[in-house]
């Protein structure tokens, strides 16, 4: 999908957090890196209308986030850093079904879609498990499943690996690599970006570098350590 930012600034009170950013995202795998406070999360929240620009426009496909936020939320899924924020119901399958029910998917289709989604991510075995007692890695995958089951066209990840061990991180990396959808990944874990198509480096609210990971990651490391 084509996401286009045109002259986008975001101000919180007196503070400019993003400053006249223009960029067009069409690649399948896009990474966003930058220091703490550089504006990554704000950038990501723009993409599905959780934050609206103070100036400029964000177009997702043909929709403007300022006016079509509802439709855009269904097209752009969002996986947050802390899976605890997303998980509502006590059992994994209940939780996935909860989102579908709330958006009016016919009751009869729901169990099938839930099972299918869990199988897709290789976590079919978790279906009946209590969602709040899962390990960090498992929870992260369940939160992802709860987003994917809504069938978004693009998935945004805000630091999805911070709580994970090596194995779970590799697992999540493999899952992201295998996603049929477009993915935008914000991270401090630079190894996660191997094989990505494009990496944006944010610095104090501007895009300081834009290129393939092969050049963008060394550029960031050189400028920020």
């Amino acid at each position: 999908m084509r996401i286009a930012l045109d002259g986008v600034s975001v101000r919180f009170g007196p503070r400019t957090v993003l400053d006249a950013v223009s960029v067009e995202l069409t690649e399948r795998r896009i990474g966003v890196i930058g220091a703490n406070g550089s504006g990554k999360s704000t950038f990501a929240r723009l993409l599905n209308g959780l934050v609206l620009p103070s100036a400029g426009t964000v177009l997702v496909g043909a929709d403007d986030t300022a006016t079509d936020a509802r439709r855009i939320r269904r097209r752009v899924g969002f996986v947050f850093q802390n899976p605890d924020n997303q998980i509502v119901l006590p059992l994994v399958e209940e939780d996935l079904a909860f989102g579908l029910r709330n958006t009016g998917v016919p009751r009869k289709e729901i169990p099938g879609r839930v099972r299918e989604q869990l199988a897709d991510l290789g976590i079919a075995a978790l279906a009946g498990r209590p969602s709040h007692a899962l390990s960090g890695g498992e929870k992260q995958l369940v939160a992802l499943a709860a987003v994917l089951v809504m069938r978004p066209e693009t998935v945004v990840f805000d630091e999805p690996t911070t709580l994970l061990d090596l194995r779970n991180r590799n697992r999540l990396r493999a899952v992201i690599a295998a996603l049929p959808q477009q993915a935008v990944v914000l991270t401090h874990d630079l190894g996660l970006l191997d094989g990505f198509d494009r990496v944006l480096v944010l610095d104090a609210g501007r895009i300081a570098y834009d290129g393939p990971p092969r050049t963008a990651v060394p550029w960031y490391v050189a400028h920020h350590s």
Binding site: R73, F78, N82, D84, N85, V88, G99, N102, V147, M150
Partner: protein, 218 residues
């Protein structure tokens, strides 16, 4: 988020010790119910207004604190006027005005830390009598001040996460994760407090920690 209503200043009321202000306020609260005379209550209300004006609080702050209560006041006065008499309505209105304005004057001119000091003094006899664990109450107040902004931010994060999932309006989706996050973080916060040697060792009551429970039901 500003967590205090205190307005810095040098007015006479700012300089009066907090304990005195509270004592007078308490007396005032009893006194207004001892009379039904408009000739007494009227000037008293005027005095309360003057007192509030000497504080020189920002207008929007005053407006925010007064707007809600004034509506209630209007409603109460209207009901009293309709169902009883004009005189009764006036008495009720003046009483509430006096209470509202004097209390607000004290609140605006007294630092939270000063009030906490008064609280400690007031709790001291109860602590000695073994009814209340005063240091624990003081810590609870500080912890609450620390975690109100934190919990509010967690709430916002959850709201965003659920909105992104298409579940903006569902109260369950907002509150269940909040409560579970709070329960979970309580374990870590308690461990962090214990790790910093709480409760203090040289307590007069070795079993003091039981005592908050005696006080809590109010």
């Amino acid at each position: 988020m500003r967590m205090s209503l205190y307005v810095p200043g040098t007015s006479p009321l700012h300089r009066v010790p907090a304990g005195w202000k509270l004592a007078v306020l308490l007396l005032c609260g009893v006194a207004v119910f001892l009379t039904r005379s408009v000739t007494l209550l009227g000037p008293a209300a005027g005095l309360a207004l003057v007192l509030l004006l000497t504080v020189r609080a920002p207008r929007e702050q005053l407006a925010r604190q007064l707007r809600g209560p004034l509506w209630v006041l209007a409603a109460v006065v209207a009901v009293a006027a309709l169902s009883e008499s004009g005189h009764a309505a006036l008495v009720v209105g003046l009483r509430l005005v006096i209470l509202l304005l004097t209390a607000l004057s004290v609140t605006l001119t007294t630092r939270t830390s000063e009030l906490q000091g008064v609280l400690e003094v007031m709790l001291r006899p109860l602590d000695r009598a073994g009814l209340v664990n005063a240091p624990a109450v003081a810590l609870a107040v500080s912890l609450a001040l620390r975690f109100i902004p934190e919990v509010f931010q967690q709430f916002q994060e959850i709201r965003e996460a659920q909105a992104a999932r298409g579940l903006r309006g569902s109260p369950l989706a907002l509150v269940v994760p909040l409560v579970i996050r709070v329960l979970r973080s309580a374990e870590d916060i308690a461990a962090a407090i214990d790790a910093r040697c709480y409760p203090p060792a040289r307590s007069r009551h070795p079993d003091r920690d039981d005592r908050l429970s005696g006080k809590a039901p109010g």
